[in-house]
Structures are given as C-alpha cells and as structure tokens.
Symmetry: C2
Subunit: 261 residues, 2 copies
C-alpha cells in the first residue's frame, strides 16, 4: 500500500508521501511517489501517486513526454489547475485501459493521485484524481487530501489542520500523520518525502527526503511519542481516582489527629 | 460500523465500545455492544460485539438462556476462558448458519466478538472471536484487541499500551482511541461504554456510560485536543526555521550596531 497526503493552507501547500511498494508480501520495494513539474516563476505542479506502479510510472512518464514533444494537451498548455487535473485523469484512464487490454490475469491497474500546485496569479489548488479520471478538491473545513492507507493518520489531521495554520506547522502535522501510519501499518514505509511550497513563490519549494535513520525524522518521532505520553498523563482523572486520593488523605488526617501529629 | 476494544494489562482489563448501528445511511440506531455476565467471586465475562446485529443479539440471548436452562456447555460449565471463547464461537457460527439458511438476499450475517474476563484464580484473558468461530488472544507486546473500525484509533494504542501501564491510564487511552475514531468516522458514535475490571476482584467492575453531552467525556476530549495542539507546538523546528530566526536576530544585531543601540 501507500500513504500520501496534501495540505492546502493560506500560506502554501504541503505534500508528503511514503516510499513502500509491494506486490505481495515477498516483493517489497522502494519507489518515490512524489513527482514535481516546475517552470520557475510560471507554474509548479506536484503529483503524489498510489495504486498500480506500472500505471503510475506510465502516467508520470507521459506527463514529461507530452511536454517535451509538445503534444497538446500537456502541463504547459493547461490554462488552469483543474484543466491540468483533467488532463492527468484522461492519461490515467487511457493507460489503465491500454494495460487492461493486454491483461491475462484480471489484474487491478487502478491508480489514484493527489495533484496540486500553483499557476501564475491563481491561488494554489490541490485535487484527488480517482482511478476513473474524475477528481475532487479539498474542503475549506478540512483542507487536506489523503490517498492509500488514510485512516491511521486522519485523526491528527482532523484535529489540527485548518486553513489559517502556518506552513511549517502543517508540515510537522503531515510528518506526524505519516509517522503514526508507518508505526501502525507495515505496508507503509520510509523514506518519507516532504515538500513545502510557499504560496506565490512559484518555485519547486523545499523538499526533504527523510530516511529511517534521518536524525530530524527520528527526533520528531521521539518528541511526538514523549508528548503523547505526557498528554495522556495530563488528562482529567476519573471521579473515583480523586475520591480515592481524597479518602487516603482523609484517613491520613484521621491518623494524624489520633496520634496528635 | 462499530469500534470496540479491549486492553489486558497486569492490573486488570479495560473494555470500551461505541453504540452506533446502521443498516444503510438512512437507518441508524443506538444499541449497546457491551454485555456482562458476572457471578461475583467466581467468574466474570465481558462480550463486545461487531457485525450483524441480529446475529450478535441472538448470540447474547443464547448465552443467557443456556445458563438459565442449564444447557451444557454454557458460561458456568466452561472450565477455562478459552473453553468459554470456544463455546461462543460455536454458538456464533451455528446462528449465522441458521440465519443464512433462511436468507433471501445474500445478506452478510457475520459477527466478530471481543470476549474477556477472569475465572477464579486464573489470570484475566481476552480473545477476539472471528466470524468463523475461531479466536486469537492479544500479544504481550501489544496487549490490546480491536474490532470494527480499528485503524483510526490504533496509533495511540500502539504508542501507549504496554502490559505494565496502570489500569486507569489504560482506560483513558481507550477513551482517546474511541474519541479519535468517532471524530474521524461517522459510522462510529456515542454513547461510549467503558468497563474497568480490576484483576482478581471478580466483580462486574466499574462501568461508565458516556453520552455525547457527558461532562467527563467532553473534558477528556477537549483536554486531549489542547494537548495535541501543544504537542505539535513543541515538535522540533525545521533546520531553516532556526536559521531564519537566527538570520533575523543577526539582522537585528547589525541594526543595533549600526544605530548604536
């Protein structure tokens, strides 16, 4: 499986992806699921992929080639983010059909994408592109999208991510969401890739490649663990725990009285 | 759907369940999924249920009736926790088959259970009973079991729950795991039931029924939310954030120097 997510906040975009691919439990590999397409100062796109690896690689390859060979439509000719999303949906379904036409084993060729970026003066946008080629964007209330193993890492996003959160905070939240998923599910694994895009910068943004041994990733994970233990420690006690504490204090007070202490 | 979990630590057992049942989006109900069977001083059992409501209700009814009518085997004649689990697995598969034999619509009659408790001097045990009637117990490394919508609430259990954690702390962790699931998935909903069984007490234990408006449940939820926001705040900054902070301090120092401040 896979876990990828994007966050779209006022100050920019965050993308995060794991790198584990598997075709059965005895065929586990490491592939980047984050692809950037940037024309500095003009347009920047990021694509995160989940699903059949042959399909997602073919889609990415075609996206690059269509630009190189000036085949229309492509990422350069798209006049809006949603037109670009539409183009990717079209390629994806075409390539799935092409692979299915040669299939001998009833294989699942489906692929799901998160696609985001910014074009010129338009605001940054993010989309989730379904295997069927159609797509949705995130909502104002929950400005994030997830693909793959989405459930483990959703609660923390639900609690923290709002439009007005700052960009680095959103990126840390993405790392925590990824970290929780990796801990709880063996089909999602490092290295973790993180891309932070500042609104209106129209650059490729900051990209981090965090291996399992990366000191910063380890620090985040350890610190988060410690904080959660502390958070649990600070939760309100059950009524009887206070009562029990009070009772023992009361008994102690009685003993003190009795023995004139 | 459903979310139920059990925790088996040195000092006792914790059981927690939601109460939402649904048969399609337009048929949502509230049913307790926690059932206790207690013979004080002798044996105490708790059953949590997920799956087809008709099956789970029929299983619980039969468990009570077999004792009343002294039909052997039953919860009283079982000589070990695993014998009792086996008995429940047997009833469950029998009732599923019975219902399936009358089925006209290819219905899913499956049910999954968490079953735990203590008998006399034996240590407390917990089991997850599959729809197929077989069962597993929890592991020493991760001494908890989950049924239903298990993914949202798993990361916090993975991080916190160890055998030597104290009972009330384990119970608070169960509430947090439940709370995260309820927030992220509409098919899991309050009231939440929580049962805390102290090892060797051989009583029904403490049982809490937490509605949506319950002040204690609300307090736990709010406090947890606050703590998570704080935990995120306390995560290590990205390298460039420190650098940016240093840069602005450096600029400030230069300005101070320039203006002789």
């Amino acid at each position: 499986m896979t876990y990828c997510l994007s966050i779209n906040v006022e100050r920019g975009l965050v993308f995060c992806s794991d790198s584990r691919t598997n075709a059965g439990m005895d065929s586990i590999g490491t592939y980047s699921k984050m692809h950037t397409f940037a024309w500095g100062g003009e347009r920047v796109f990021v694509l995160l992929s989940a699903g059949n690896l042959a399909t997602t690689q073919a889609v990415v390859k075609k996206m690059y080639r269509d630009v190189e060979q000036a085949l229309v439509p492509n990422l350069i000719t798209a006049t809006s983010m949603s037109e670009a999303a539409d183009y990717i949906g079209m390629i994806s379904t075409q390539l799935q059909r092409q692979q299915a036409s040669r299939d001998t084993a009833n294989t699942n060729f489906e692929a799901t994408f998160i696609f985001g970026g910014q074009m010129g003066d338009s605001p940054p946008e993010t989309f989730m592109i379904y295997p069927q080629g159609n797509y949705i964007h995130e909502s104002g209330e929950h400005p994030f999208l997830q693909i793959g193993e989405t459930k483990y890492g959703k609660p923390i996003l639900d609690r923290i991510i709002k439009r007005d959160i700052d960009l680095e905070r959103a990126a840390r939240c993405a790392l925590v969401s990824m970290n929780s998923t990796i801990r709880s599910n063996v089909t999602v694994g490092p290295p973790v890739e993180l891309l932070i895009y500042e609104r209106d910068s129209l650059t490729e943004g900051r990209r981090l490649f965090l291996t399992e041994d990366d000191p910063f990733a380890k620090l985040i994970s350890e610190k988060w663990n410690e904080s959660l233990i502390l958070a649990l420690e600070n939760l309100p006690k059950f009524p009887w725990e206070d009562a029990e504490a009070e009772t023992s204090e009361f008994k102690l007070a009685l003993l003190r009285q009795k023995h004139d202490l």
